[in-house]
């Protein structure tokens, strides 16, 4: 039954997709997988292989990291393949999600300042969305939502979870056709849970009430609200510490050239704003899916963050360790490109905001992973997290390490 459902789901995704519509009606057009829509013939660009094995400490590329003067980088935790999202418990335990390897890690600090890592959960499908609410860890694995109560007291023997999957009712992997089904999750200042529902293709005439959304829920999964529409896929969100507005990173589509469209930073001023996918991104009209829409009718991004850079985790800096100029500015991890002939991203940037919340500039902060001469990369930053002491954690998915950035005058 499951098999048939899967098959039907994939088939439905294809039939409903735009791939068929855009072809010049041959008798039986070959269906095109969602990811390949718009792909130029002959291109061999493909996603980079994940590394799912432990990287020995002496091969973790902390030495490659370059930072502004006064900042230092160290390895905070390692031996955690595929590490992505970071959520922190009230007692300071850090929980880390993954995608392909299906694990959730728990990281605790030893009295001597070193860290201990445990594999808390495994065998889950892409458990990349984590959020702590009180003493409960919520794990979002595609559409599955599992709540682990009192988790920090049970790190060696996690309790059976409360299954909230049905209450949240998120689209399944099959409904996504295997596209952009993994989650990022954050807790809003209003106590609601904010997550993404990515688009079910690279680009297509999608159901704009079901996909390409930012949505929020009560923690029990009730009262779904569309926070933003026309957002292709966001894998990073945070609320401004003063204005409480929702901000999000957003991935642009693939296969329209090396330099367009750009990934973007979105500022959601009111619930339900429309950012234009698949018709537009900012002033950029999609060459295949614009449908004659004026891009000015959609909300404009707060900043453009470079083509194919793969912007992911973002957090406002709320600590006091870093110089005052960083206060309430946004740190953004750029995981790095695959759909581009020359690598872009593989770094952490800072978006600077003025008093009105306008982005005045975007500056490089953590660099050194991308080698332009050899077109190789040493690691891929995915999440940023501000610790209580004001230091900044950066997760490196490729090498399975978390780096800690500190500042000394």
């Amino acid at each position: 039954m499951t098999l048939r459902k899967l098959l039907l789901g994939f088939a439905a995704g294809l039939i409903a997709g735009p791939a068929l519509a855009q072809q010049a009606a041959p008798a039986a057009p070959a269906p095109v997988p969602g990811w390949a829509v718009g792909r130029p013939e002959g291109s061999t660009l493909a996603p980079h292989a994940p590394r799912l094995t432990v990287t020995p400490l002496d091969q973790v590329p902390v030495g490659a990291i370059k930072l502004p003067p006064g900042f230092q980088a160290e390895v905070f935790a390692h031996g955690i393949p595929g590490v992505r999202a970071i959520a922190e418990g009230p007692n300071g335990t850090l929980f880390a999600g993954t995608r392909a390897i299906g694990r959730v890690y728990a990281i605790t600090r030893n009295p001597d300042g070193t860290t201990r890592t445990r594999t808390l959960l495994q065998g889950l499908s892409q458990p990349s969305g984590l959020v702590m609410i009180g003493n409960s860890l919520y794990v979002f694995a595609v559409n599955r939502v599992l709540r682990y109560d009192n988790i920090e007291a049970n790190l060696d023997n996690p309790p059976a979870p409360v299954d909230l999957t049905a209450a949240y009712g998120l689209p399944t992997e099959q409904e996504h056709g295997g596209n952009h089904h993994w989650k990022f999750v954050t807790l809003g200042p209003d106590g609601r849970v904010y997550t993404n529902v990515g688009v079910n293709c690279n680009v297509c005439d999608t159901d704009r009430d079901k996909f390409a959304l930012l949505v929020s829920f009560n923690p029990d999964g009730s009262d779904r609200r569309i926070e933003a529409r026309g957002v292709r896929n966001s894998v990073g969100m945070a609320h401004h510490p003063v204005t409480r507005e929702l901000w999000a990173t957003n991935h642009g589509r693939d296969w329209v050239g090396n330099d367009s469209p750009e990934d973007s930073l979105l500022r959601v001023r009111r619930s339900g704003e429309d950012f234009g996918f698949p018709f537009c991104l900012g002033s950029w009209a999609d060459p295949q899916f614009n449908k004659g829409r004026a891009c000015s009718e959609f909300s404009q991004p707060a900043a453009l963050l470079g083509p194919h850079t793969a912007v992911l985790g973002m957090r406002f800096y709320t600590g006091t360790m870093f110089p005052e100029q960083y206060r309430n500015q946004i740190f953004i991890a750029r995981r790095g490109s695959w759909n581009r002939e020359k690598l872009s991203g593989y770094d952490v940037v800072v978006a600077n905001l003025d008093a009105q919340g306008n982005v005045t500039k975007v500056e490089e902060f953590l660099t050194g992973f991308r080698d332009d001469a050899t077109q190789k990369f040493a690691d891929r930053p995915v999440e940023v997290h501000v610790l209580r002491d004001g230091s900044l954690l950066v997760s490196g998915e490729q090498m399975g390490a978390i780096y800690r950035i500190t500042y000394r005058r």
Binding site: P33, P50, A100, G102, G178
Partner: protein
């Protein structure tokens, strides 16, 4: 699981002589490949072949396979994310180092077709070849179809294994490190898969 262990134990005894020969042939190999050969001797070669070329229907050849592909698949077995009963016992609790060494060993072996590869059927071969472009196989597996990193070598693989694997992807029985292959074979008929499998198995 118990059955597969018994089977493996029974086959092991038969495989040990081949194994010594294989190890002799491996002089000059890297440390990782040598260690992988020793590990494979007690587990893998019974079914996958002492030279990494499977002579058993339904069992894939691993000789010359992309090491990144082997590593990821073994981890998916170990983590309980890919379900093949015969592999479960072997992958359970296997350290990363063992997996990497096994992958290095099999990747180092010269690839080639099984001894029982059937003669080429020109019509079936052509039908399979005609599907490669429309299905974008060459994007990830490269025009040579020898694969790269997490994407496997396809040429010279056992025809029966290729046909079954593609059907599993099509029917939602299996995903890889991601779901690209499910999309790639979606909607293909059994006849299409048979043609693709024949073409790939006949390519060298």
């Amino acid at each position: 699981m118990i059955l597969s262990r018994l089977l493996a134990a029974a086959l092991l005894a038969a495989a040990i002589p081949c194994l010594a020969a294989a190890q002799d042939a491996r002089r000059g190999a890297t440390e990782s490949e040598r260690r992988g050969a020793e590990l494979a001797a007690h587990r893998c070669v019974n079914c996958h072949g002492a030279d990494g070329r499977s002579q058993m229907p339904g069992i894939p050849s691993l000789a010359g396979q992309q090491p990144g592909f082997i590593v990821i698949q073994m981890i998916l077995f170990r983590e309980g994310l890919r379900h093949v009963p015969a592999m479960t016992a072997f992958a359970e609790g296997l350290p990363d180092k063992d997996i990497e060494d096994l992958a290095a060993f099999f990747a180092s072996l010269p690839p080639g077709p099984p001894d029982d590869r059937r003669p080429r059927d020109p019509a079936l071969f052509a039908a399979g070849e005609a599907l490669i472009g429309p299905r974008h196989c060459n994007v990830c597996h490269l025009p040579s179809l020898t694969g790269r990193e997490q994407m496997p070598r396809l040429v010279g693989q056992r025809e029966d294994f290729l046909a079954r694997t593609m059907a599993e992807y099509r029917d939602g029985l299996r995903v890889g490190a991601d779901t690209q292959m499910n999309g790639a074979v979606m909607g293909l008929s059994n006849a299409d898969l048979a043609a693709l499998a024949h073409y790939l198995s006949q390519r060298d």
